[in-house]
């Protein structure tokens, strides 16, 4: 656990005091200690969610060290207006960047291989808002094959090799920052699916068994941290929209990408139907590859309101 600032300490104290006043039944099974992966869930003020969610699992300082080169992979794949819910909100990306810098990151690279035209995606997503310090923070749109380098996937069930963004291969840390959205082929698009934006030939995955191919990616592209932006979820019409959106005002943080994804599936109904991580083929495939926990009951879920 990293150092607590005084403000955090006070906040924790207040939260604890509030918790003490609320009957146990309303608080869920919070007090039960679980050995599984820790998941930080923050709800409330969208401007504070990243720090709060991270605070539950040790703060950004637990993942990013001084002098690190950090890659942040939001999903800005579509040239859709932010309200559409198809892209990670710029505010959440900005908070993440700020946390990285506060933790001492030397360089932060925000990158994506967009599906729609990259110029338009950058413009519509408003992502440039996240470049808070042009000296340390840069935006990299992956548009050419030479920006990718081939890596082999030992143990891959569908893919033997994949071309991964060189920037990620050369970075100290990778933070995956998906937006919670529905997906016409995979059901939902979350952290593991977000990794597809770091490979060159996405079509190759579709020509295979898509779900197992996506899980294969998580074997070689290891996000040190996954932050699911569920401030707004696109629950139908994904991944590009238009579709129904719901305001969830939530961010889910974790180091186990299977666990964060599985937990995030349960945040809201998709296509007007309730699902769990167990009902999403690519999450199941990733779990079966031994990449993480799929049962929410076995996770150490720490929730906080801000």
């Amino acid at each position: 656990m990293s150092d607590l600032s005084r403000r955090d300490f006070l906040k924790l104290g207040l939260t604890a005091a509030a918790a003490a006043l609320v009957p146990k039944a309303l608080m869920g099974q919070e007090s039960e200690k679980v050995a599984g992966p820790a998941i930080g869930v923050a709800r409330g003020d969208n401007a504070k969610l990243v720090k709060a969610a991270l605070g539950e699992i040790g703060g950004m300082g637990a993942f990013v060290s001084a002098g690190d080169r950090v890659c942040i992979k939001p999903n800005i794949s579509f040239a859709a207006n932010v309200e559409c819910g198809a892209t990670t909100s710029a505010g959440v990306v900005k908070q993440t960047v700020e946390e990285c810098l506060a933790a001492g990151a030397a360089k932060v690279i925000i990158l994506d291989h967009t599906i729609a035209d990259s110029t338009l995606c950058v413009e519509k997503s408003g992502i440039e808002e996240a470049i808070v310090d042009p000296k340390k923070v840069s935006l990299l749109t992956l548009t050419q094959e030479r920006q990718f380098g081939e890596v082999s996937i030992p143990g891959g069930t569908e893919l033997a090799t994949v071309k991964v963004a060189k920037a990620v291969q050369g970075a100290d840390k990778l933070i995956s920052l998906p937006t919670a959205k529905s997906h016409s082929a995979t059901g939902v698009s979350l952290g593991i699916k977000n990794l597809m934006g770091l490979v060159w030939d996405r079509g190759a995955l579709h020509r295979k068994n898509l779900h197992r191919a996506i899980a294969d990616l998580a074997l070689v592209i290891k996000a040190d941290l996954t932050l699911v932006d569920a401030t707004r979820a696109l629950t139908t019409g994904g991944p590009g929209g238009p579709g129904k959106t719901v305001q969830l005002n939530t961010v889910v943080a974790g180091t186990d990408v299977v666990a964060t994804d599985s937990y995030a599936v349960g945040l809201t109904p998709w296509y007007d139907k309730a699902f769990t991580g167990r009902s999403v083929r690519y999450i199941v495939a990733a779990h079966e590859l031994g990449l993480g926990e799929i049962d929410t009951a076995k996770m150490d879920v720490r929730e906080v309101k801000v």
């Binding site: 579509f78 040239a79 859709a80 559409c84 599906i115 729609a116 035209d117 110029t119 338009l120 413009e123 519509k124 548009t143 050419q144 529905s182 997906h183 016409s184 082929a185 995979t186 059901g187 939902v188 996405r202 079509g203 190759a204 579709h206 020509r207 295979k208 068994n209 898509l210 779900h211 139908t236 019409g237 991944p239 590009g240 929209g241 238009p242 579709g243 129904k244 959106t245 998709w270 296509y271 139907k273 699902f275 167990r278 009902s279 999403v280 083929r281 690519y282 199941v284």
Partner: protein
């Protein structure tokens, strides 16, 4: 030959010429998505040939080009200064001529009447309702060379990102050949194109013949012949001691090189010959009478269902007339969707823009092509209006689609479609688990984003055809029905994606 000593008048003229050439290139560079459309097509708006030929051929006034009347007025007062100082192709030719230098043929090839024949051909063909302007206007040739040749070449050399028209294809090669040929004509005579072929030069020459101010041989003269030797356009007749105001591009060479300072720029009329011979005139009229109907016939024949025009393109025959083939729309297109047509629209349709969705779809948030089009061949549509202007319809080739044929959970087409025009449906015969893509042709506008992203190798398994394209000169593409079919959550209930494991 004039000596290569530093001459102030030449420095001044080069400075002005290069400044206009630079302006032309800068405006070309600003012709892109994200830059507020405004003066990018300035040079076409001041081109009186665009106003004349395009308006006649299309039977509709090209309003944007009315500005060119200013150039007409200025030429009537000052003469053919445009060719000597402003024209970017003229400047490029001067640069090439300087490079050719002494390797040029000693006796210049002079066929001044030919350019009038070209002009007559263009005007007569326009009266017969076909515009060949795109093949002859110097500004168009310059712009197209930048768009289809030099930018792609520079892009490959310097590795610029983005979508470039693929250099080396037929149409690019064609544009390069025209450009290189025009410069190579400099081996036969300086400013060969300007003095013998250019129809804009011809039009301005006609005006200059009656211009108020003009250069003339006026003062004392020892008949040394320097003036006619330095003249790049053969405007000076030594024997008769005359200077043809129509041929003169006002380059100032004779005035400053004359040892007697006897060339003067004065108001007043001088007699000039009209060089268009009867045979040339007849040949021009005759070929226009034959070629214009042929070209028109070709545009009516729609053999090519895959010939998809840009969003908001006016009806095909009007489009063929209005389109200058300047390449501005293709330069501006951010996705590489707009590409030059080769012969799909007939020989006369060469270099007109077409949407090649396999290379890039038409982005929902972009309407730049219509904003920069100088003649309204592509209508200036607002962003929302553009998203309703149907270019065609996407058709799924079930035999090649890996969802239909191989039960793959693909649906990239559905994923990318910004209008929700593709439904994911279970196989009607109950085969497999993967949902199949199906196009709702009431919603599809043929943007081709699906075709651009289809993961099937080679030609896509979903392709846009010009089926149901909407081509109108005026009015809105938006209808209540279209609007009601679109919009968040208003379409039919979606199937649960096959990425979910459903417990029965």
């Amino acid at each position: 030959m004039a000596s290569s000593r530093f001459k102030p008048y030449r420095a001044v003229r080069w400075a002005i010429q290069l400044a206009f050439l630079a302006l032309f290139v800068v405006l070309f560079g600003l012709t892109r998505y994200g830059v507020e459309p405004g003066l990018q097509n300035l040079f076409f708006r001041i081109d009186p040939l665009v106003l004349l030929v395009t308006s006649i051929a299309g039977r509709a006034l090209v309003g944007a080009a009315l500005v060119s009347l200013v150039l007409v007025g200025l030429t009537l007062v000052f003469g053919r200064f445009f060719c000597g100082f402003v024209c970017p192709l003229g400047t490029t030719i001067d640069l090439a001529d300087a490079a050719i230098g002494r390797r040029r043929r000693s006796a210049p090839v002079s066929l001044p009447g030919l350019k009038y024949a070209v002009l007559v051909f263009l005007v007569v063909a326009a009266v017969l309702r076909f515009s060949f302007l795109g093949f002859a206007d110097p500004l168009v040739i310059m712009e197209r060379s930048l768009a289809l040749v030099w930018r792609p070449v520079a892009g490959y050399l310097f590795g610029w990102a983005g979508n470039l028209p693929a250099a080396g294809q037929t149409e690019t090669l064609g544009a390069a050949l025209v450009f290189v040929a025009i410069l190579a004509l400099g081996f036969l005579a300086r400013r060969f194109w300007c003095r013998n072929l250019c129809p804009l030069g011809a039009l301005l020459a006609l005006l200059s013949k009656v211009s108020l101010f003009r250069f003339r041989l006026a003062g004392e003269c020892r008949q040394c012949g320097v003036c006619s030797r330095v003249c790049p356009t053969g405007a000076i007749d030594d024997a008769r001691r005359t200077l043809d105001a129509g041929e003169c591009i006002e380059c100032l060479a004779c005035q400053y090189e004359c040892p007697d300072r006897s060339v003067r720029y004065r108001a007043g009329f001088t007699r000039t010959r009209f060089d268009l011979g009867r045979r040339q005139a007849l040949a021009a009229v005759g070929s226009a009478v034959v070629l214009a109907p042929l070209a028109r016939a070709a545009v009516y024949r729609k053999l090519q269902a895959r010939l998809v025009r840009p969003p908001g393109a006016i009806p095909e025959p009007d489009f063929m007339n209005a389109c200058l083939r300047c390449g501005m729309c293709m330069k501006a297109c951010p996705t590489g969707c707009l590409q030059p047509t080769v012969f799909e629209a007939g020989v006369a349709g060469l270099w007109t823009p077409r949407a090649v969705a396999r290379l890039g779809g038409c982005e929902k948030n972009c309407n730049t092509c219509g904003q920069v089009c100088p003649t309204g061949a592509i209508r200036k549509l607002g962003l929302e209006e553009k998203t309703y202007a149907r270019m065609g319809t996407a058709v799924v080739d079930r035999a090649r689609c890996i969802a239909w044929e191989q039960d793959k959970h693909c649906l990239i087409c559905d994923e990318i479609c910004p209008y929700d025009a593709i439904a994911a449906v279970p196989d009607p015969e109950g085969r497999g688990t993967a949902l199949r893509p199906e196009v709702d042709e009431r919603i599809c506008i043929g943007c081709g984003l699906c075709e651009s992203r289809c993961p099937v190798d080679g030609p896509a398994a979903i392709q846009v055809f010009s089926i149901n394209e909407e081509r109108v000169r005026t009015g809105s593409y938006i209808t209540e029905e279209k609007r009601s079919l679109r919009g968040c959550g208003q379409s039919k209930p979606e199937e649960i994606p096959s990425g979910f494991i459903l417990e029965e």
